[in-house]
């Protein structure tokens, strides 16, 4: 099991966002979460990536828990995360950003790995441009490259389609599908029914803090 979320509850002050939410994601699965704005999709992904802790319930990623620091490090080594923000250093070039994160991830042969991902996402020509000078779509692609660097067992993406053109969307859908067929897992949120249909094996909608299978 790549991800197991059991009966989690999360609230921010008086605002209850998630309640008794459970979800499991197995190998070769690609799960899409939909829902209206403010329904708790991003909160769920932040909890699954260990950036937030639930008030109640348990989250196990790759059968390990973020509550233990050593297990948390092991999980982070094996997952890739792209949230709403691309989380990049704007004054660094694309190359500097990707090399930095690859080094932090402990990838020894990081240059060929970066080259391979960048080529697939069509960013070869932008490698020496500062991230702050890129279009929003290309920044998103760099963020995606960053999350794919370690060929993660579980990829967590918040709205992969934001700011991307139709051709780039097809490429990303292809990447997600290839990952699922090669035994990896994907968890992503989306507002696009077409994108979800292209690359998800299951879809859920968050309604009143809980998941409903579509």
């Amino acid at each position: 099991m790549l991800l197991e979320v059991s009966n989690i509850k999360k609230s921010f002050q008086d605002n209850l966002v998630l309640e008794n939410l459970s979800l499991s994601l197995d190998l070769e699965e690609s799960i899409c979460i939909t829902g209206s704005n403010g329904s708790g999709k991003s909160t769920l992904l932040k909890i699954c990536s260990g950036l937030l802790h639930p008030d109640q319930g348990a989250v196990n990623v790759l059968e390990k828990s973020f509550l233990s620091q050593s297990q948390g490090l092991e999980i982070r080594r094996r997952i890739g995360v792209l949230l709403h923000s691309n989380m990049l250093y704007p004054t660094y070039t694309v190359r500097q950003n990707l090399y930095l994160f690859a080094k932090i991830l402990g990838i020894i042969e990081y240059k060929p790995r970066v080259g391979e991902i960048v080529e697939r996402l069509g960013l070869d020509d932008s490698m020496d441009k500062e991230v702050q000078k890129l279009s929003n779509g290309n920044k998103r692609k760099v963020g995606l490259c960053k999350s794919l660097l370690n060929d993660p067992d579980l990829l967590i993406i918040d709205e992969p389609e934001s700011n991307l053109d139709a051709e780039s969307l097809k490429t990303i859908a292809g990447i997600l599908t290839d990952r699922a067929t090669s035994g990896k897992g994907n968890l992503f949120t989306s507002h696009s029914v077409e994108f979800s249909a292209l690359c998800s094996t299951k879809s859920f909608k968050i309604s009143s803090g809980s998941l409903v299978l579509l």
Binding site: S49, L73, L88, Y92, F101, K103
Partner: protein, 224 residues
């Protein structure tokens, strides 16, 4: 262990690389401090007659206030671009994130202080550079950087972060400031402080206690 050292140097070099591009921290500390030192010099009738403890106070007060403002800038871009979250999502122990920030700010502060000391030496026609003062600066900067890193992370998302950070760190820094002023004023008088060993011992103990305590607490506060 070797991996940890490599990781720590990668993170520290990253902060230094970013600062070389933006120069925000250096510009803030150096300009603000020069402004304070030169304002005192210009408004004094005779800079040669300023008491040594007042001169030392001018130096360290300008370092503390300019350093506090620079610390906010140091963290503001991390929060704005959510790159601190990016680091939290990476397989990096929280203690290493804390130490990389501490070391980076220590380097920025130490380089900036050399400019401040030189400016003070020119305006007041005294030599601030001595082994005692440089050792004092190292001990002070280490404590300041650890306290600033911890509280800088806490207040980085607050609205009145500049005021809040100064209010939080200045009272805690008082023992270190007293130590720095004592050693520097003795040096400005051309002497060595009588209790220099005691002061250095106390200041190093202060640094060790705060670094150990804040390293532990940093992991807790960045978790959520």
């Amino acid at each position: 262990m070797r991996n940890w050292i490599e990781l720590l140097s990668t993170l520290t070099l990253k902060d230094i690389g970013l600062e070389i591009r933006t120069k925000e921290v250096f510009t803030t500390i150096i300009l603000f401090s020069i402004l304070v030192v030169s304002t005192f010099a210009i408004t004094s009738n005779n800079t040669l007659q300023i008491p040594e403890n007042v001169g030392a106070g001018i130096i360290w007060a300008s370092v503390i206030f300019s350093g506090s403002i620079a610390m906010i800038k140091f963290f503001a871009s991390e929060i704005e671009n959510e790159t601190l979250d990016a680091m939290l999502l990476m397989p990096v122990p929280r203690e290493l994130i804390f130490f990389s920030k501490l070391f980076s700010f220590f380097i920025f502060l130490s380089i900036s202080e050399m400019v401040i000391f030189a400016t003070f030496s020119i305006f007041y026609n005294v030599n601030v550079f001595s082994t005692d003062v440089l050792l004092t600066a190292v001990i002070f900067n280490f404590g300041f950087s650890s306290i600033g890193t911890f509280f800088g992370t806490i207040v980085a998302k607050a609205k009145s972060k500049e005021t809040l950070l100064a209010l939080l760190i200045v009272p805690i820094l008082i023992p270190l400031a007293m130590f720095a002023v004592e050693i520097t004023s003795a040096n400005l008088a051309g002497e060595q402080s009588e209790n220099i060993k005691t002061w250095i011992g106390l200041a190093i103990s202060f640094d060790i206690i705060f670094v150990v305590l804040l390293t532990f607490l940093f992991g807790k506060i960045v978790e959520e």
